[in-house]
Symmetry: C2
Subunit: 321 residues, 2 copies
Amino acid sequence: MKRYVGVDIGGTDIKFGIFTETGQIMDKWHVSTDIRGQGKNLWNQIIMEICVHTENGKDVKGIGVGVPGPVQKDGFVEVCVNLGIGNFNPKEILGRIFPKTTIAVGNDANVAALGEMWQGSGQGYENLVVVTLGTGVGSGVIIDGKIVYGAKGMSGEIGHMMVNPDETDLCTCGGRGCLDQMASATGIVRYTKSLLVQKCASTRLNHQEPLTARIIFDAARAGDRLAAQGVEHCLSFLGKSLAFVSYVIDPDIFVIGGGVSRAGDYLIEIVQKYYNQYSVLKKEKARIVLASLGNDAGIYGAARMVMEEKRGKNENISGSL
Amino acid sequence: MKRYVGVDIGGTDIKFGIFTETGQIMDKWHVSTDIRGQGKNLWNQIIMEICVHTENGKDVKGIGVGVPGPVQKDGFVEVCVNLGIGNFNPKEILGRIFPKTTIAVGNDANVAALGEMWQGSGQGYENLVVVTLGTGVGSGVIIDGKIVYGAKGMSGEIGHMMVNPDETDLCTCGGRGCLDQMASATGIVRYTKSLLVQKCASTRLNHQEPLTARIIFDAARAGDRLAAQGVEHCLSFLGKSLAFVSYVIDPDIFVIGGGVSRAGDYLIEIVQKYYNQYSVLKKEKARIVLASLGNDAGIYGAARMVMEEKRGKNENISGSL
């Protein structure tokens, strides 16, 4: 039976999924990412895992790989900042081991977006943006059902829109006032801590160490005023940024995933409120919804990506995509 | 000889161009827009002009029409705010008169973008944004050589990104702080007038009535400090907005057209400076250049659009696009 492998390379884990042509998941698993040897170990891990789980690639028609960095059109990856590796092309590396198998490579945020479109909250839409709120703010942009890569593979970097002119700290990118500094898990904790220092207010967040985004959201939902103030201020920048995105490409829907999105409808309502406020011209507002595939979005999207690549080449694949 | 007609409907003029399959312009002309009769006169004008200039549509294989409003996928136009007309579908109206001719319809900013990509400053690029600085700020977004329409035909409305939190006046959209209020011709005049009132400075702009964007740019270039300050402040918001656009779709190039762009390299240098400042993450910055087709971008783009529509339908057309 023909099958497709989706691989999602993350800083902590490498996730794997095996899918049928029609999108059923047959198997999924993960291993800890081994970044020693400037990436060499990582590729050995990936090759071995695929071989062990598929009888050396038997019936595997395609392998899709999501990597945490910008990907050039030919599959080359110059750098994955968070992994500290770079200068590799998964198409070549995996192509040498699986010469009869189509290999596709994409940026992890883009690939996750494709997954949500295919089997998650974005089903039925062809114009969508999937935003991942984790240690940073990433996004994948899909137009007419296709991932937008951009000229240098740098589309969807909305985390570095400089939307907060009052910011005084530097962002990791070297700028100041990036969305990333406000709406990521790190950003929400950082800003709320600054409120704690300023306000000396009575709040259940005092003496919470380590303070996490989850604790802040839980307190906010339970009615803690300082926590709610922190969350609302941080998410107002996300709503504003999504309005900016909307004025550029006018998507049908925004899908919000990543760890921070576990805050659920409480988060969505605030983001939608500010999105509406900053997108006055649009009579019909884009919907903002929660992602539904969780950590599996990447493996779904990677598998879907390679199926699309095969279809683009007119290789034999059922028309069920 | 097969030919294509490009029509660009504007508030003042309707422009027409006749093109060969390979993009040579054979004829161009314009008439004053007649918006009486809720648009009825306008369509009679267009039909008559095409008939007179093409022997009733002889050898015309396609007619492309750019309209100043959002266009739905089937060609329907709900409203053209500036013309005060709406609820029409040029495909139906022109299709009744020219039943054997392919008709394509697009938003004027998108169509102008296609023109610049085809025969103007965007030649050789497939990912570009063409920004028109006139009474408002419009833009057309092209990805992989294709116009991005967006879910509701509302892509490229970057003029309504709310980028100036210090703004107190209302924008025409009902919002406050839109790019349109700063970087359009109207916005530059408005802001510079406010500086004149505040500063009581010695400037050659005093007693210039009516004050226009052109006069302000001329003074700025000639060393007038207040004029230069006004221009730089206004254009800083354009640079910032283009950086936001870049973080969404990462185009190769921005092409700046419209009346205000006559300020030339002086304008480009300021916009590029602020664009670079707000796009810190990007090592290779997108280039910002002047448009080159001027007022003809719309007719070129409209013709190109209908050629593409024919090609999409696999109708007989040479492969020279």
